[in-house]
Each structure stands twice: as C-alpha cells, then as structure tokens.
Symmetry: C2
Subunit: 491 residues, 2 copies
C-alpha cells in the first residue's frame, strides 16, 4: 500500500520523515534546509500560536515587530553573542539583480551594500538597539515585549521541524529594574512553556537550568525544558534566558532609578519554535501514523459515513449534518464529515489514522437503526459504541481521556528510560545498551563536558529543578557536589 | 508642549510622521528603510489579521508557510515577473561571518553560496514551484491557500507603513481548473478587501481594474481598491490578480482534467499589507492626533478618573473597576482605566486623543453624585453625559455612530474631490489647482500613460467598476471609448 509508513524499530529517522510526509505536515521546498509547512501542519502551528499568545498576554506581555535584517555592526556589539551565531548566518550583501548580456539573471555587482545585513538568527541586538529609545526611567520598566517571527540559522544538517535553516518562532524580550525581577520573569516564562507543553501538547518535560556549555551566547544563565523522543534522545523544546546586563551594556541602555542614579536594566529572552511540532510527533506518533493530542489538534473528530445504497447514504449523511449542527455548541471543538466519494470506509479510516485525528466517528445503517454510532480512539484503537443522543456529553470526556492517556504514556516512557549512574564508566556502557536520560552528579568543567560529548555524543541537557538536593560524587571528576545533571544524546 | 503635532495644512508629510511618532505606532529602526512596529501599532495589525483571517477562512482558504528565500533560478523562470522585481531585491550571497585578524567581524569569503537567494518580494515563484507537487488531478482543484509573512522590496525612498523595505502582509495564492473560476476568485477577494476596508477601517474605496501600466508583473489583469488621503492623493490599499496560466506554465504545473486531458491550471494571487495602517492614518487622523475606527481599535474606551482628595479617588476608581467588570459582557470591547499617578486629567485627555482612542470616559466626584459620567467622542469632540446604569446600552451605539461618521466623512471627502474632466489640457490645469481623483475617458496606450505620468506625476489608479457605461471621447487621444479611468497622484 502506497501510504504505508516505515516502522519505528526498522528505521526511526525514516519513520519520522514518513509521518511528516503522509500526514502532509511539511515537505522539502527545494531551497536548501528550508521546508514548506503544509496547511495540515500550519493549522497546528496556528493553534499553538493562539494558545501561547493568550498565555503571554495573560502574563502582561504585548506583541511588537522588529526588522528581520540586522546590520553586522549591531550584531557584533556583544562578543559572546556574535561568536555564537556568526557561523550560521544568511548574509545580505546586495540589493539588486541584473540581466547579463547573455540574458542570465545575476547579482548586480554595482548594488553592493555599504554594510552587510544578517537575516536575524535571534533579535537581541536589534531589539536592544531599539530599547535604547524606550527605556529612560524606572517608570518605563518592566518592558514586556514578544515577537512572532521567522528566523534564519544556516544549518548544515537539517531535519523538518527539528532543525531547519528558516523556522518560525516567538521571542520574548523583556527589561527589568533588578536582577531579581528578571529572574522572576525568566522562571515564570519557563513555567508557561512547561504548562503549555504538558497541558496542551501532552509532552512531559524536565525543567531545569542549562549547563555552562549549553547556555545561550550572551546569557547569564539559561533555563530549558527537555523531553524524550521514542528513540530515547532529548529534544530541547523551549528556553528562557536571564541575560543579565549583557545587552543593556552592549547597547548602552540605562535608566534613571527612583533614587536618581543611572542603572543598566536586566534582560530576559525566551522562545519556542516550530520545532514543537517535531517534538510532538517524536513523542506521540506510532507505526500507524501521526498522533495529535486533542487540545492542539485542528480537528478533534472526523466522521466517516458508511453506506451501500443511495437511501442509506442520504440517511447517514443527513444524520451527520444534524450532529454537526448540534456540536456547534461545543467549545474548542471542530468536527469534520468525510464526504469523499469513491473511497472506501476502510481507506478513510486508515487515512485519518495517518493524519492523527484524535477521534473517528463511524456511522452506518445498523448504527442508525440502533440510534448509536461508533467512536474509535486514535491513541488506543479502542472502539466505543455511544448512543447518538449522548454524544455531546461523551465526546468531550473521551477527548480528555485521550489527552491524559497520551501524557501519562509519554511520562511513563520518560521515567522508564531515565537512569541514575554513579561513574563515567558505568555511564558509557549503559548509554550504549540503554539509550535514555542519565541523571548524574556532575561538577566538571566546560572542558570536561566537551570531552564527554566527544567520547559519548551525550551532552548535559539540563540541571533539573526536581532532582537537586543531597550531595554526591561527580560521576566524571569524583568531586563532591550537590548538582545533578541529565546527560543524553540529543536532537 | 512637547507632544504637539504639526498641522496638516502646514506640512502634511511631517503631520503624518508626527502622528506615527506621537501615537507610538512605529519608529525608525536604524536599518535602512525598515521600521519597528511598536506595540500600539502592532495591536492594530493583530486585529486586522484576526478579522481578515476569519474572512479568508469563511471563503474556504487555509493558511500555509513557504520559505522566505527564493533561489534566483526560480525567480528567473517568469520573465515579466523577474523584470518587475529584480531591481529591488535583497540578495543573500553568503552563509557565514568571520573575524578578521584585526578583530573585525566581516563576511566570510569562503562561505559564498553556489546560488544566491532572494529574500521574497512576493511568493508566486516559490509557491508555484511547490504546487507542482500538489496539483495532479482536477480533484486537487481549487487549491485555496493563504500565507501571512514578511516581505522585502528594496525601496530607495521609504515612508513608515506606506513604503518600507520590509513589510508584513498576507498573500493568497490559488489554483483553479478554469479561467472563469480564477476570475470569480480574484473578484471575490477584491470584494473581501473592499468589505474589510469599508466596514472595519471605515475607509471608502474605489474598486476596479488596474491599467496595463499598473498591473502586477506576470498578471493577466489586476484588480485594485484605492482610497484618497487628506492631501487628495491615491493610496492603493489592496490588489487581487488574475494570473492566468503565467506561473503554471513557468513551473510546468499541469492537471489531468475529468476528461483525461492535461491542462494548465489558472492562478490568482491577492494581498494587503501593513500599508493599511498608513492608509487609515491618512484618511481619518486630524490635527489632534491619530483617529482609529472603533471596530479596528485595540482599545475602544479609556476611562480617565478625576479627583482631588484621596477619598474621592477611592470612590472614582472603585466605580470604574465596577464598570470594567460589567463591561466584560460586551462583545469585541476593550476598556482601559488610566490610573497613572502624577499626570493631570487634562494631560491624559490630550494623550488619549493623540493615540486615537475612539471614546473617552470621564468620571469625577460631581459625576458620581449625579450617577452619571461624561463620554467624549474622538471623532467629533462631542461630550455626552450618560447615566452610569445606561452605559452598556449607550456605549455600543455611540461606537457604531463613530464608525459610521468616520466612514461617511471620508466618503464625502472622496466624492467632493473626485472630478470629471474632458480634455488633457483641462486635466493638467485642474490637477494643479484642485488635487484629487480625476475620472476621465481613456483609450490611450501604455506609452500615453507613461507620458501623462511624466508630465503630471499622475498615474492611472483604476478603471472603477462603478463608472463604466456610456461611451465618450478619450481625454488624451480623442478616440471613442467606453472606458473611464481614475487618474491621480499617488503614494
């Protein structure tokens, strides 16, 4: 069958690409490293945007828009920052094309820019260059801004949603009078991400701090949420940075405090990207196709009409249309009737399973006679017969059950594949035998972390808030430490 | 007073920039031709997006996302198209920066792209390159896609919102089996734009077809909606193009018809941009500041508390907070209480007038004693005393009256400044004395139109649907024609 997908345990990478292809979420654009987000995939991103945007506004943020082009001189003002991004930048050097004498279209050498422009890989520099005008007094603080935008990081090895040259994201950029207020903001926004991931995407996460090696270039420290894929690797799904005064100093932004002194404001930035869609696929989907949690699915229920004769068809379709009218009273709920002709019910069942619709409603003449229909859960495959007059009560309950089941299953998987080890030797052997998250005491240097990465391909994913406490011996150096770090191979 | 704005009849261009500055809608970014859209301006764009997005979805469209980078080879496939855009393109030629031996950050010459990339000035080429995979059969049609995106056209002379190097827009790109279906789509979407402009932005428009000179590069024909600024120039506020088979042929996209033949699909594209905000300013604002129609305003009513003593303040503020609770039942309505300390009511009145809030609510101790408050209309300045217990009924009525008054005023202005002339001589003299829209019979060539532009700076803005009918003599060539064209100077 043409729409069959590769099984996870045959070829996990191929399986991931098959899901994206068959569920029509995205496809290659022909432009190196850039994908086309298809309507089915973009509808998920729209729902993510709506949900997150409300969460950001409920915590006091407003949206704005800053240029996508950043002059190299702005970009260079903060050394650590430019070092972190300079090697993966799309650079605009000319502003015109021309036709050569042999009719070829080419770059016009006479239209070279005086100063090259970088296509934003992140917007701290252009935004702090602007904040210079917006921040004069303590009354201007806190400044709580978010931007929805496209971003470019020139990646050599790409994978749809997870790592693409261009991607979509939001980036929060805030300014605060004190270190503590910026700290509260950075923590709050990590909490927003964790809540969004767990409550809407049903993606369980470890929340914690990044190690020195993995923090954002220019940050004082970085918070992260990390989840586990079904091949037991880590995916970073959101970060929130306490930037200290790095950017206020680089752009000479000061404010007059209530005591009349001139001070540098403290900054945060935080973001999530279209990578969330990739993470969701990697966490929930199965060998039958895409699995989309009901709360983020663009369509919750698809009805497949079953009939042979024309009069059966009329009855079935008109009953389904009646249901569609009744369901309009349900909140946050989208119901689709698959009226495609010349496709068998079996084909349609398979098609909507591939596409990840949470719940399928089957209605045929026998069901009609019984005044009931069949609901088929995408997560478990379970089929439930429900009287037609109970659907408004039952469907929301079943959808919530799917949402919870997906979360619990992913959480159990993450817990089952999170190990504690005490020594580096044990770690190396275990990581090969049992891929997963390794929670270890770690007090090593950034060089130590580099060496671990070189030898094992595992990196320090996060210093999870939940696992700090008692002291123990660093698995790499043997030094006493209270810091536990999760090491894992990552996407 | 620092926040005073230039009067329209002193310096119209300066007035426009003052409005944008004082209402904090946008500001210069320091990046050539690119603006920062401030939160106050972006909130208007968000509301425009929400409204239009719903109108697009109600007419059967879905959103998707295509890369911002277009390889020069795609871009060059359609000769007329590339000729139209090649001279104003940002071109990415390198993918890395480097640090020179003296510590300067510069473009890495070793990271030159094999093929330069254009930052999209419009997306027909990248989208039709993709549609090749999406369209095989008549069953795949119509294909009704929209994209919200940023766009780059390298402009030499820029003006915030009206003409910027980077701007935000939506672009619809559809494919149809027949010429007639594409024609119906192009017309329908122009109608959506006209309805949006008139019903939400209170901006009256002439809708019609573009002259040959002014049509989109690559289009069969272009429809346009044009409005008039207060300095009596035209602004194009939306276009809808019937692209014929230009792009399906350029990208070799064919479909199998129901009869089994291979056919080229017909295309449309249509867009509106952040220019709409500039047009709205130019149509409605006055010498007191920005004027925002209630249906598109992010905030409809601002309350300014008036008090001297502390106990007065408590009563006034708690009454306003009570109103805020009550107003939560009002649909599409946002109510803000201006609680800023140490600013006088007079300062606040002026401030909210500058910022274009449609209705101001004033409440002081005397009003409280009378169980009433004062509502001040931004459009007319009229002050209306309203009993507190009637606010839920009265406010929506007054807001609708503001909306209608703004539309009618702009419509009357447009009508008063639209003239009919019969000869080119008459046109030239009248245009200088009385700037405005000139409705004339026109049967000239594209060269004739070029000459008119050269001599008068006026261009053919549109062939308005409403003004076609009886025949007359072309004002330029004297030839008999039934075609009336509006000529005007334009932004």
């Amino acid at each position: 069958m043409a729409d069959k997908i590769t099984k996870r345990d045959e070829d996990y990478s191929r399986w991931y690409l098959d899901i994206i292809d068959k569920a029509r979420l995205a496809e290659d654009s022909g432009v190196k490293g850039c994908m086309v987000i298809r309507p089915e995939g973009y509808a998920i991103w729209e729902k993510m945007q709506q949900t997150l945007d409300k969460m950001f506004k409920d915590t006091g943020h407003v949206n704005a828009y800053f240029p996508m082009f950043i002059p190299v001189s702005y970009f260079s003002k903060e050394a650590e920052h430019v070092a972190g991004f300079a090697k993966e930048c799309a650079v605009v050097t000319h502003h015109r094309l021309m036709t050569t004498s042999d009719g070829k279209i080419t770059v016009d050498p006479d239209a070279e820019l005086t100063e090259p422009l970088v296509v934003r890989p992140t917007s701290e520099t252009i935004i702090w260059n602007t904040y210079k005008n917006w921040i004069q007094s303590y009354r201007d603080l806190p400044l709580l801004i978010n931007q929805w935008a496209n971003i470019c990081r020139w990646e050599m090895r790409t994978r749809p949603f997870l790592r693409t040259t261009e991607f979509l994201w939001q980036e929060g950029h805030t300014a605060h009078a004190t270190y503590e207020e910026a700290e509260a903001e950075a923590s709050q926004m990590l909490g927003v991400y964790k809540a969004f991931l767990e409550d809407y995407l049903a993606v369980p996460v470890f929340d914690g701090q990044k190690t020195e090696n993995e923090k954002f270039p220019g940050a004082d420290h970085t918070y992260t949420v990390e989840t586990m894929t079904q091949d037991r690797r880590a995916i970073q799904v959101g970060t929130s940075h306490h930037l200290g005064t790095t950017f206020s100093k680089a752009f000479d932004v000061t404010y007059q405090s209530s005591q009349g002194t001139l001070e540098y404001p403290f900054a945060t930035s935080w973001g999530v990207t279209t990578r969330l869609i990739g993470a969701m696929i990697m966490v929930h989907s199965d060998d039958q196709g895409f699995v989309c949690p009901p709360r983020i699915a663009p369509i919750q229920v698809v009805a497949v009409p079953i009939y042979k004769k024309d009069e059966e068809k009329d009855d079935v379709i008109s009953t389904l249309k009646g249901l569609r009218e009744r369901f309009k009273t349900l909140d946050q709920f989208s119901f689709k009737i698959d009226e495609r002709e010349s496709l068998s019910p079996g084909f349609k069942f398979n098609d909507w399973e591939l596409k990840g619709i949470p719940l399928r409603l089957e209605l045929g003449p026998k069901d009609l006679a019984n005044k009931s229909c069949v609901l088929a859960r995408r997560d478990t495959g379970e089929k439930i017969s429900v009287p037609l007059d109970q659907l408004e009560e039952r469907i929301p309950v079943i959808l919530e059950s799917i949402q919870t089941t997906l979360f619990k299953k992913a959480q159990a998987f993450q817990q089952q594949n999170t190990y504690s080890v005490e020594t580096y030797e044990e770690f190396k052997i275990s990581l090969e035998e049992k891929p997963g998250f390794y929670s270890v005491y770690f007090a090593g240097t950034t060089d130590d972390e580099d060496k671990i990465k070189e030898e094992t391909k595992a990196t320090g994913r996060c210093i999870p808030f939940a696992l700090q406490g008692e002291a123990g011996k660093c698995f790499y150096t043997g030094k006493e430490t209270a810091q536990r770090v999760i090491f894992a191979k990552a996407y």
